[in-house]
């Protein structure tokens, strides 16, 4: 299993420079956005979004060179092969969180901004959920089809939601919606309590584990 994690990480070295440049850019943009607080939130969202895409990137590299066929001939069970991919994703997410914490330190010490845990908690949870959703789809449909499936199940409902929201907020009688949105945003950007933090992490961990079990089930039945 260790070798498979190395394989994914070594495969990513080709995009390391691009990711480093993007992270530097978003770190800078956090300073430039001119807000009064929670600058790291912007950086953490962008970093975790970039890194949540990495399972798709790894799977894409595997598909491109036919690694799956070779990998299945190695003395590693299919369950461990899938577990290795989830472990890689987790390592990258954890690494991203460390980067965000470092950025947070820079923002607070150098920029003098105030931040709170919501800036990492929710982007991290979103990225973990995204990986949990994406991996079984990749194992079931392959990388190319997964992109289309993701458009269908994520992007289309998102765009429909945004369009509906825009329509509703354009209505002069939508004070209740404005108030509700304000309330949600206020809660999201305030320091979450310990219960919320632990609860969020636990829910994400359970979904991540269930996703891994589903991916193993799919991959074990697959002809390679």
């Amino acid at each position: 299993m260790k070798g498979l994690i190395y394989k994914d990480l070594l495969g990513l070295k080709q995009i390391t420079v691009t990711i480093a440049i993007l992270m530097g850019f978003y770190l800078f943009m956090g300073f430039m956005s001119g807000g009064e607080s929670n600058q790291v939130g912007y950086f953490s969202i962008m970093v975790l979004v970039i890194n949540a895409m990495i399972p798709l990137t790894c799977a894409g590299y595997d598909e491109q060179c036919g690694w799956d066929t070779f990998g299945a001939a190695l003395p590693v069970s299919r369950a461990k092969t899938v577990a290795a991919r989830y472990m890689t994703s987790l390592l990258i997410l954890a690494g991203s969180l460390v980067l965000v914490l470092i950025a947070d330190l820079i923002y607070t010490k150098v920029g003098g901004y105030q931040t709170n845990a919501s800036a990492y908690l929710y982007p991290f949870a979103t990225a973990a959920l995204y990986v949990s959703l994406m991996n079984p789809i990749i194992y079931r449909f392959g990388v190319q089809k997964s992109r289309i499936v993701m458009i269908i199940i994520v992007l289309i409902p998102t765009f429909v939601g945004i369009a509906l929201l825009a329509l509703l907020t354009a209505d002069s009688h939508s004070e209740w919606l404005d108030a509700a949105l304000d309330s949600v945003l206020e809660n999201v950007f305030t320091q979450p309590g310990a219960g919320v933090m632990i609860g969020t992490v636990l829910v994400c961990a359970v979904i991540y584990a269930l996703s891994m079990l589903l991916s193993i089930h799919i991959y074990q039945k697959k002809d390679l």
């Binding site: 190395y6 590299y61 060179c65 690694w67 299945a72 590693v76 390679l224």
Partner: protein, 293 residues
């Protein structure tokens, strides 16, 4: 108890045993009732495109979910992960990411195989003159195959499985690779199963030949026995009547007469014969089966 011991001993003599294997696709079915690949030999797997060679190899490696049947490797089920420690695999294309280097391959496979031997890998990469830091995408096809072979051999496998590994590479590199196979097979516990379109390679190196056509094993024979078993018979149209039709395995006709593939012991006296190569045997049988359908 004695019977069980005897069965175990018999199994140990075969590197691979296949029993009642079937795998059905929409347009193709692989059906192998029984096939034994003896330990210590090079088994050449021949057949036309789509005959079922790669499907059989995938079934042996448990890469596909078969409908029925049992495959054992060294007496153990092929689904046993431990068995894979003993197998080295080379496919028709290199399966490592194109931006990997020989060093990256080492790092990855060292983390996978318990018996990985850095020194042996360095020996093969040195022997094949493979640069450590060059990206695979910059390798020639021959170099890619050599790297695959070095990676397949560096964990001391007992069974080497090659799926069209020598196709598309020049004769000099093929010859180098064949030499490695012959060196590998010096250990009588080692076995090679190699599918190839290049019949000359099989004729050169294989001890046994398995011919697959339409998803079925047509024959599995010792190469030397096979080459002695059949003859190519050239005759005119009028001489053809002297041959018992049931003795004709394959036939090619032209304006001057016919070329027949026959069992050596069935050739009537006075006919001009020539030794039949594996390719002749294969082509004649395919042609005959095609004509019969």
């Amino acid at each position: 108890m004695l019977k069980e011991t005897k069965e175990k001993q018999d199994q140990a003599k075969n590197a691979i045993e296949i029993r009642n294997l079937s795998k059905h696709y929409d347009d193709f079915a692989l059906q192998i009732d029984a096939l034994d690949i003896p330990q210590g030999c090079i088994m050449g797997l021949v057949g036309s495109n789509g005959a079922g060679k790669s499907t059989m190899i995938k079934a042996i490696l448990d890469l596909i979910r078969t409908d029925s049947g049992e495959i054992t490797i060294g007496g153990e089920s092929n689904q046993n992960q431990r068995v894979r420690e003993e197998i080295g695999v080379v496919f028709d294309e290199i399966k490592f990411p194109p931006l990997f280097t020989a060093k990256d391959v080492r790092i990855v496979l060292k983390g996978v195989y318990r018996n990985w031997d850095d020194a042996l890998y360095a020996h093969y990469t040195g022997l094949f003159k493979l640069p450590d830091g060059k990206k695979i995408k910059e390798f020639s096809r021959g170099m890619k195959m050599k790297l695959s072979l070095a990676a397949a051999l560096a964990h001391h496998p007992k069974l080497l499985i090659l799926d069209e590994a020598t196709s598309g590479i020049d004769p000099v590199v093929r010859d180098e690779i064949l030499d490695i196979f012959l060196e590998f097979i010096q250990d009588e516990e080692h076995t090679i199963l190699a599918s190839s379109h290049i019949i000359s390679d099989i004729e050169k190196a294989a001890d046994y030949v398995t011919f697959i056509n339409n998803g079925r094993v047509v024959f599995c024979e010792e190469k030397d026995v096979l080459l002695e078993k059949y003859r190519l018979v050239k005759c005119g149209h009028e001489e053809l009547s002297a041959v018992t039709p049931a003795d004709i395995i394959g036939k090619r006709t032209n304006t001057f007469g016919a070329e027949l593939l026959m069992p050596a012991d069935k050739v009537p006296d006075g006919f001009v014969t020539a030794k039949a190569g594996i390719e002749d045997i294969m082509l004649m049988i395919i042609k005959n089966e095609g004509a019969a359908q």
